[in-house]
Amino acid sequence: MSQQIIQPSTADPSVRDRSTGYEYTVGPKPSLPDEHMRSPLTSRLYAASLAAGKQQVSLAAMTFLFQEMIAYLHKNCTSVTEFEGRLSAYGESIGTKLLELLNLRSSVAPGSSSRTSTFLSSSSQTSTAAGSTTAGSATARSRSGTVTSSRSGVSASTHTGTAPSTGPASAASHSNGSATADSHSHHTHAHIHQTESLTSQITRMRRRDLKILDILQFVHGTLWSYLFDHVSDDLVKSSERNNEYMIIDNHPPLTQFISGANNRVSCDYFVCGIIRGFLTDAGFRCKVTAHTMPQGTFDNRTVYLIQFDNQVLERENIRFGQASS
């Protein structure tokens, strides 16, 4: 790959035209002769909101895709180690992205919007289970906030500033005396299609996790809830080696339909990759391996063993020496 990134200084067009459409110092660049004529495609990405949606797909669709990914690797790999390594590489590319995304989403101040907890669906369930009036007023407030922002262009202030009592009033003043039902349908409509900027809800960024335990808690809690809708079943420190930690999932959803314990564990390396990418990018270099350890009724119980590099432990000792060990 590296040969292709560095463009050779030659006049031979066959070499020069082998463009990837992306100049690493400039960004996207035209790779076709007539592309200058076309109007530049406005990037939709920057307009898209990072706010956590409640989008879901069926587990079946996901596992079908996962299976094809594994079948593809099976065809192209000669050894189990290579297979696990490559599957892990898929996961790593995802883990690195999730680190930034989940940090950003966790920074949303609690209570600023009803959306804050949507990616922790377990907590959103508890909030609905509570069914208290405060939860109701919170949603009402954020809804009216969405409407006003979509109509008048005010975005941030309405979210944080308006008291619950003024929220409905401002919405009513905007609805031009139309029927309440109509304005309500407008609410839901706006709620779905209006892309809301996530940053407008963040007043202070969450601090980066510096300690091993903190980042592992984040993986165990936030990352797992994001991926699988529940926190992982256990987070354990090895009693034998002090650089080893274990995250335990009693029932890994992605690999539940794969038969044979050995096969299944190899496929769990996808999740290993996600953990590794996540931790490595956060500054905690490590190796992650999967092991099957059935216990009780959980035949698929999987242990993700995280082995941190020595440098991570050394750093922790220097920085937090008195506190941690």
């Binding site: 898209a48 879901q56 996901m62 094809e68």
Partner: protein, 213 residues
């Protein structure tokens, strides 16, 4: 194999159309079926994980095939085909839908049930050919391509979501419909719409494997 089931419920399908209900009525019931199955009988997972996983697959293919987008399209199609031939089983088991009497009905089932049950979207069915054997699916919120932007060279050659075509092709073939399925346009390429064209070639004969029946 599912002969008895299809005839029984096939009659019920006919009776509903026989009672003079317009096409929309049928569509509504299909929509209700799809919604109900999605809501109550489907295990779900975060769509972003799905999106990210597919993204990882495509970008890895780009690397493996050295950005030969024709080959990548084929590979994605093949992956989809492999999924489709098995997915149809899952789909029929979940929905227990009867045999479709024509392509119009098929298109409704695909849009309102199949896409709904698996991806929680309902593409719009349009662009019918005169003989009612070819139509287009217009996908508005393709979960595969969320947060995706193609480099300029890929914009010309790559059908990013080509796996969908493969799935449709494989699944339809398993219910004796030999179809051509291909992307016509994709928002990722700068087009206005994301459109998949499905054209019926012929209805395959229902061949029973030797030794059965």
């Amino acid at each position: 194999m599912s002969r008895p089931v299809s005839t029984i419920s096939g009659q019920s399908g006919l009776s509903s159309s026989g009672s003079g209900a317009p096409l929309g009525g049928q569509g509504r019931s299909l929509k209700a079926t799809g919604d109900d199955i999605w809501k109550n009988k489907t295990e779900k997972i975060n769509a972003e994980l799905f999106t990210l996983t597919y993204g990882a697959i495509v970008s890895q293919l780009c690397e493996d095939y050295d950005r030969d987008f024709a080959k990548i399209n084929d590979q994605l199609f093949q992956m989809g085909y492999n999924i489709g031939v098995r997915l149809i089983e899952d789909f029929l088991a979940r929905t227990a839908l009867p045999r479709c009497e024509d392509m119009v009905r098929t298109s409704e089932v695909i849009s309102k049930c199949a896409f709904k049950v698996f991806l929680n979207i309902s593409p719009k069915v349009t662009n019918w050919s005169a003989n009612k054997e070819a139509f287009s699916l217009v996908i508005n919120d393709n979960p595969l391509s969320d947060f995706v932007e193609l480099p300029m060279d890929a914009m010309k050659g790559l059908w990013y979501s080509n796996v969908l075509c493969g799935v449709l092709k494989g699944a339809l073939e398993m219910v004796q419909l030999d179809c051509d399925v291909a992307f016509v346009s994709d928002i990722l390429r700068g087009d206005q719409l994301t459109e998949i064209k499905i054209k019926l070639n012929r209805v395959l004969k229902d061949e029973i494997p030797i030794g059965e029946d």
